[in-house]
């Protein structure tokens, strides 16, 4: 019988395989953090970018493909946190407009690159001029307004603008500064992946990288090292939003993450109510875009009537799972940007749902119903149009369903059209739509927030791709206010201009904001405390550097 030995061999192989398996489980790091040292040994963060097969890339200007470590290695002149838009002095201690075309930064002294070389204004000058030479790296578009950048000794850098350049402040402030002594030797910085020991001024240095895990460690010579209580951050590769990731999150395997979770309270918070928290700060303004070149959307009376027509609460609770907040008609993100709102705006510009008021306003504006209950246009025909929404954005489709129902209740015939996201983007840019969703604003550059959707220079005739004004709003008054906002360095004049733009949003209704996109952010206070929250909104969860300076060991 020749079978028996074969069987025995198989059993032996299986047994030894099992031995190998059991002997080697737990290679993924099960160390415990040592309390009492005043430091946090390590924190587990979520994904680090770079797709499913990440390759080392710490070039801070390759936005689309760099890995997260770059965000903790490179720093900018000011750190403009994206919740309330405070400019926190960072590599620069101060800035001053010496005239509307000239901005002077005072560079922090005593800062060192993590290879020990001193950091100076020369590096700033070098960085900006490199971006000028290699415009592919200029992802903030600073050189569209800059004329020159010059270091003045080791501590001052002078930025000269082509035109009065106040609006470029946040862009210039946010550019990551790289060391001249390294990058000047790089032949082509556009293809430089900076893979070995990237040199920056930041709180963290690269420790190790493999496609599953990226580790950065504390830089002991950091200029505000006393504020950094985290010895190591481990970023873990994730198949974004997958079921397995949710499970790992709920088991507390991440100290922080930024992912969409279907039922966050049940799936995460309830698993450990004491330590598991989330805070979804408001992001971009998700709005109803109306094609302003078409009737009835070209009539302000019609648009204004619609401001009370939409059931925001139902959109927020049902389509958005209660994760978001109602958007202000002002176009600003409240409460973060509340300081920019003009005085006396009721409820910060949020307009509530009131179907009866919408009905009356429509009738008053000349859109009466006929005997069959159909809302008639100015041409006497029943109003009928389509609502385009990307079919694969499930939450947007759910929101559109509610809005369509609201419109139908007013006697308007609305059909739903669900193209692919690409086709929807294309149609919105070329003006091939009646009504659709669009996202604008939410950033810290007030000029960009209003100019992108409303500037007549950023639009195009229907059929051509608009740069960003996809609703095709054209209004001399708006352009004038935008110009003021762009050029005046004086805060009072800026606020007046924003107030004027808010007034246009409220009374001319170029678009109808519905909700603010959520910035996903979950955090666990088992090991570290000091995360930003609705109670302590010093920044939003996406401002990794600012958050890191606030983290302290739990219980301290």
């Amino acid at each position: 019988m020749t079978r028996r030995p074969w069987r025995r061999t198989f059993v032996a192989v299986a047994a030894s395989a099992a031995l190998v398996l059991t002997g080697c489980t737990g290679t993924e790091g099960a160390q415990k953090s040592s309390a009492g040292s005043g430091m946090i040994d390590f924190l587990n963060y979520g994904d680090f970018g770079g797709g499913t097969t990440p390759k080392a890339n710490y070039n801070p200007y390759l936005d689309a493909t760099k890995l997260s470590a770059a965000d903790y290695i490179y720093e900018s002149l000011m750190n403009v946190e994206t919740y309330s838009c405070k400019a926190i002095p960072w590599l620069a201690t101060a800035y001053q407009w010496s005239d509307p075309k000239t901005l002077v930064y005072t560079i922090r002294s005593g800062v060192k690159w993590n290879d020990g070389q001193p950091f100076s204004a020369k590096d700033v000058e070098f960085t900006f001029n490199m971006l000028k030479k290699f415009d592919v790296l200029d992802t903030q578009g600073v050189w569209t307004s800059l004329a020159s950048v010059k270091a003045d000794g080791d501590e001052k850098v002078t930025f000269t603008f082509k035109q009065p350049g106040a609006s470029a402040f946040t862009q210039v402030s946010g550019v990551k500064i790289v060391p001249q002594h390294i990058w000047s030797k790089v032949a082509d910085p556009t293809t430089f992946v900076n893979a070995t020991a990237p040199v920056g001024t930041g709180p963290m240095k690269l420790k190790s990288f493999n496609p599953r895990q990226l580790v950065v460690e504390r830089n002991p010579d950091y200029w505000q090292a006393d504020k950094i209580k985290v010895n190591e951050i481990r970023f873990n590769k994730a198949d974004a939003g997958g079921q397995v990731e949710q499970l790992k999150l709920s088991r507390g395997e991440y100290d922080t993450n930024a992912m969409f979770v279907q039922n966050i309270k049940k799936a995460y918070v309830d698993r450990d109510p004491e330590h598991h928290h989330y805070w979804y700060a408001p992001g971009g303004v998700i709005s109803v875009y109306m094609n302003l070149t078409k009737a009835p959307f070209n009539d302000v009376g019609f648009r204004k009537a619609l401001t009370t027509a939409f059931d925001d609460k139902q959109v927020i609770d049902k389509a958005q799972l209660g994760y978001v907040t109602q958007a202000s008609q002002s176009g600003l993100v409240v409460p973060g940007q509340k300081d920019w709102l003009p005085q006396g705006l009721a409820d910060d510009g949020r307009i509530g749902y009131d179907a009866a008021a919408a009905d009356k306003a429509l009738t008053d504006a000349g859109y009466a119903k006929d005997s069959k209950g159909r809302r008639l246009g100015k041409d006497g025909k029943p109003i009928s149009f389509s609502f385009k929404v990307p079919g694969s954005y499930v939450d947007w489709v759910a929101a559109a369903d509610i809005l369509i129902k609201n419109l139908q209740a007013l006697g308007i015939t609305v059909s739903k059209d669900t193209p692919t996201p690409d086709a929807n983007n294309q149609d919105r840019a070329t003006g091939n739509y009646d009504m659709t969703f669009g996202v604008f604003g939410g950033g810290c550059n007030m000029y960009a927030n209003f100019s992108d959707p409303l500037n007549s220079a950023r639009t195009a005739p229907v059929g051509k791709k608009a740069a960003s004004n996809e609703i095709r709003w054209q209004d001399p008054k708006t352009d004038e206010l935008l110009h003021t906002l762009q050029v005046s360095p004086d805060e009072k004049a800026q606020k007046e201009a924003v107030a004027g733009l808010v007034d246009i949003m409220m009374n001319q209704v170029p678009t109808i904001p519905i909700w603010y996109g959520a910035k996903w952010f979950q955090y666990d206070t088992t090991k570290a405390e000091g995360w930003p929250s609705a109670q302590d909104p010093y920044a939003d969860g996406g401002n990794g550097l600012v958050v890191l300076t606030h983290l302290v060991p739990a219980g301290s």
Binding site: V20, L21, C24, T25, T27, E28, G29, G50, G51, T52, T53, K55, N57, L62, D63, A64, T65, D135, V136, L137, D138, T139, Q140, G141, T144, Q171, T190, V193, N210, R212, R234, N236, K237, D239, G242, V244, L247, G283, G284, V285, I286, Y393, W396, T420, D422, A423, N425, Q426, V439, F440, G441, G442, G443, A448, D452, R458, S468, G517, A518, K519
Partner: protein, 331 residues
């Protein structure tokens, strides 16, 4: 000889058609790779920064020139094996990305394909040899049942039971976060652990087709006259089964196997996605969803070339094995 020339001509013509379609199809899709990259970065809840979008577009280099000159450049690049820079992994080249992912797919899927084929053929032969016995019913019914289960369901079930509930194996990936790819025992054992569940999923579903094919072929060959003659001569049953039945019944399976190996890439997308395995299938899925045209083109090209070569080899082998094919084609 004419037969082989014909086959070669056919091969070249199909190859050209495949290469051309591979060029055309991605360009007919709507969409903008730069926008896809930004969407991956920030989702759809934030406004697009036009300056950033413009910089990314410039970085990727938009395709200028008419379609014909692009096509000409593309043909030249294909002939020289230059596939350009990947969009979603800029500035890494397509070749570098494929080289990173290829070993994972080759080892995981290659090994399980061969094992599935061996297991399936053996089980099928056994079932036919003992046809209408209990062994036959178990094998045939069992494999038919397994064949009806969706693959992703089996994969998720394995993850749920062995990774989440029992915690015996990792829930996905090619290796753990603590180890880096290197030629060390530690890494190999780690990579082995990570490959157990996906391999198991493939081994559960893989043999089904081979089992059924082999069993049916062999039942048929065992009923042929020469098998009956062998039985009448009083040859041992096992000899009849192996030398007279299995040897002939395996032929169609061999062809199928060649094609399956050629189409390796296409079949790996699902398993690699479910188990988060760092191979070519997942790379392909990502390339498609990110509109990474250069990467997509190269991967599709490899798949089609793989299938074509396998087909060609199978055709040629058939010609050798079965003279009737040669003669039928020549007339």
């Amino acid at each position: 000889m004419l037969y082989f020339l014909r086959r070669t001509g056919f091969f070249v013509a199909t190859l050209w058609a495949a290469v051309t379609l591979n060029f055309l199809i991605p360009r007919l899709q709507p969409g903008d790779p730069a926008q896809a990259l930004l969407a991956r970065l920030q989702g759809n809840t934030q406004a697009v920064n036009p300056a950033q979008l413009a910089a990314i577009r410039k970085m990727l280099g938009t395709h200028d020139g008419n379609l014909l000159s692009q096509y000409w450049d593309y043909l030249g690049a294909v002939v020289h094996g230059q596939f350009g820079v990947s969009y979603s992994y800029y500035p890494y080249s397509v070749t570098a990305m494929i080289a990173t992912a290829l070993p994972w797919t080759l080892i995981l899927v290659g090994v399980t394909q061969i094992a599935s084929f061996a297991i399936g053929t053996l089980l099928g032969a056994w079932a036919a040899y003992r046809r209408n016995s209990r062994v036959d019913s178990v094998i045939t019914l069992g494999s038919t049942f397994v064949g009806t289960l969706p693959f992703f369901w089996i994969g998720l079930l394995l993850i749920f039971v062995f990774a989440i509930t029992l915690n015996w194996f990792p829930d996905g990936g090619g290796y753990g976060g603590g180890s880096s790819p290197s030629w060390t025992w530690l890494f190999f054992s780690d990579a082995f652990q990570h490959s157990v569940l996906p391999a198991l999923a493939l081994l559960i579903t893989g043999p089904v087709g081979w089992i059924i094919g082999m069993r049916n072929n062999m039942v048929q060959t065992l009923g042929e006259d020469y098998a009956r003659l062998a039985r009448a001569k009083g040859l041992p049953r096992r000899r009849i089964a192996l030398t007279y039945g299995a040897r002939i019944a395996i032929l169609p399976n061999v062809t199928g196997f060649a094609i399956a190996l050629g189409g390796l890439l296409g079949g790996t997308v699902l398993v690699e996605t479910i188990f988060n395995y760092p191979g070519l299938g997942r790379l392909l899925l990502e390339a498609v969803s990110n509109k990474d045209y250069p990467l997509m083109q190269a991967l599709f090209l490899f798949t089609t070339i793989g299938v074509l070569i396998a087909n060609f080899l199978a055709d040629v082998t058939y010609g050798f094995l079965d003279p009737r094919v040669r003669r039928a084609e020549a007339t």
